[in-house]
Amino acid sequence: MANYKYHILICGGTGCHASQSAQIKINFEQLIVEKNLVDDVQIVETGCFGFCEKGPIVKMLPDNTFYTQVKPEDCKEIIEEHIIKGRKVERLLYLDPKSQEHKADSKHMGFYKKQLRIALRNCGFINPENIDEYIARDGYKALATVLEQNDPQATIDIIKKSGLRGRGGGGFPTGLKWEICSKNNADQKYMICNADEGDPGAFMDRSILEGDPHTIIEAMAIGGFCIGATKGLIYIRAEYPLAIHRLRVALDQAREYGLLGKNLFGTDFDFEIELRYGAGAFVCGEETALIHSMEGLRGEPTFKPPFPAQEGYLKKPSNVNNVETFANIPVIINKGWEWFSSIGTEKSKGTKVFALAGQINNVGLIEVPMGITLREVIYEIGGGIKGGKKFKAVQTGGPSGGCLTEKFLDTPIDYDNLIAAGSMMGSGGMIVMDETSCMVSVAKFYLEFTVEESCGKCSPCRIGNKRLHEILERITQGKGTMEDLDSLRNLAQVIKDTALCGLGQTSPNPVLSTIDNFWDEYVAHVVDHKCPAGQCKALKKYIIDPEKCIGCTACARVCPTNAITGTVKMPHEINQELCIKCGSCYEKCKFNAISIK
């Protein structure tokens, strides 16, 4: 076994893959052969480091140098300078925007300082396609311990005491969920992992599955033992081919070592896991719809009760948990429930992985202890608003959540506080918006998504959401009325009250949240026919300044609707009725005579 002196870790998450991190790995491998360093340098592809804004990431060990935005062409320099000559490649180091200093160690970066990686503990550290590295880092120890203790209720009690709550959005206490299922007797039970991750822009679960698939396998086996299930099912969306590949490799490796299959760790506990693929439906992230999809039926939810714990997959007691929830289980067993419950707030223990996106400098994946404030997340970890613009709102919970405004910046983030603020934790999407975001358009964007993804079974969601969307469309087109604003509120409330499943029950949240927090913006659209943020195209007015216009007719000639009139050398005029706001005249005018209001 080679005694490596250096490890080069390359981020192998989908984001960095898209920026050629696979090529970077190949280049490094070739170079170390060329330079005779094969026994000295280990090249490792790991999971997501989280700092996606600065990817592709390459981390040099043992000196812990964090290189950002690495290109395949940079590999030669890194090997020659860093490995051979021991000199860091300055230009690839992270430049702190405030201090303008290079930070080589990620621990000193604003992005990482306040993070606490528990669910992501192995991502960016181990090679996810090598079970040995997982084992070296205490992998499968929790499962062995649980099986050796052979007391399902005791393990359930540990999870209960830890305070772990479902990370998929519902926030239901995990230990309690396991306990309920364990009490229902049947000849076969199922442990199901919800890896559908349908929220647009969310990639927390993807990163965990790509970077540390074994943790899910181990956790499912532990859960299976606790509830009495010998079969596990992972429902993963087909749009995650890399995660599927890594899971398949991990499952095979676990089976080879006897960590999956019959008589695990010499006990009489059997556990096997099967993969099932989604087919592009957000609604199949709802647990009953997910179960029906796996049964080969139309992916529609059914009313609860009966809950899956009583009648789930194939009508047998089943327990559905989210990927991130599972990722916390092995470490709770290994480090103890007291340790876990010492992190976070009183009712929300542990950490949460968020996908930080939007108009923020440091876009990426972060894991923070519950109780951290939004201000810390946005300004310290996130590095503040891009371009120095003003913060307007942050959307949490994806299409099921709401907007949090400036007055919530110092609210500690946890399940209950977010709900009290009119939003919800959701699965962890966090979209930051600045003054150029139109909140009506934001609500409309989310409605577009839920209208497309509604299964169509129940009337309020199928028809109600469509009507909500149509009203929002009218408002953004400048054709809304004050009655429309009342309609929005009433309709949104009824849909929330009567929809059959979580999708319909939460889809009006963006509307209600934005209309409550940004009422003036809605009124401006309706009464003044103006979009204060300047985003709604139909409400933009292109106006020619007669003082500046010299009548060159250049704009009139490019106008696709012949909306510009005027004689040569005389100031021209734009007919607002005909104008389709394409902006061609604005682009064409060399005299800055056209302005957008």
């Binding site: 002196k5 043992p62 120890k141 760790f265």
Partner: protein, 132 residues
């Protein structure tokens, strides 16, 4: 492929594999570790610095010392090769010259494990960007 059939099996496997990841575990904590740099430019290699580096690494592993060993380019003390720079947390870096493999062992046992300095210390005569 040997199957893992008990917690004891798992523990044994883990021990075997932990050394592979040691480098990364250390990397997480670099600031609190002793950083050792072995000059590995042409004169260094010519005078056997590669072997010196191996000795240092092995000895440190044997004694489980919290040390991070890397190679570096020419430090400039070509007359005293092989040279080794040792920076303990919170202390200034010290450069040792004329480190043979035998002396390397001594360096580990005396200075890295304990606090005893060796002969042959080279005074630092230039500043590096890192320390700014």
């Amino acid at each position: 492929m040997e199957k893992i059939k008990s917690l004891a099996d798992l523990k044994k496997k883990r021990e075997d594999l932990q050394s592979n990841l040691k480098l990364r575990e250390l990397g997480d904590n670099v600031d609190n570790l002793i950083q050792v740099k072995v000059a590995m430019a042409t004169c260094g290699i010519a005078s056997g610095a590669k072997q010196v580096m191996e000795v240092i690494i092995n000895e440190c592993n044997k004694r489980n010392l919290p040390v991070v060993v890397t190679q570096t380019g020419c430090m400039g003390y070509c007359y005293a090769e092989p040279t080794v720079e040792v920076k303990k947390p919170g202390q200034e870096a010290v450069v040792f010259g004329y480190i043979t493999p035998a002396k390397a062992e001594e360096l580990v046992n005396k200075y890295l494990a304990g606090n005893e300095l060796l002969d042959g210390i080279i005074p630092v005569n230039y500043e590096k960007i890192d320390n700014k």
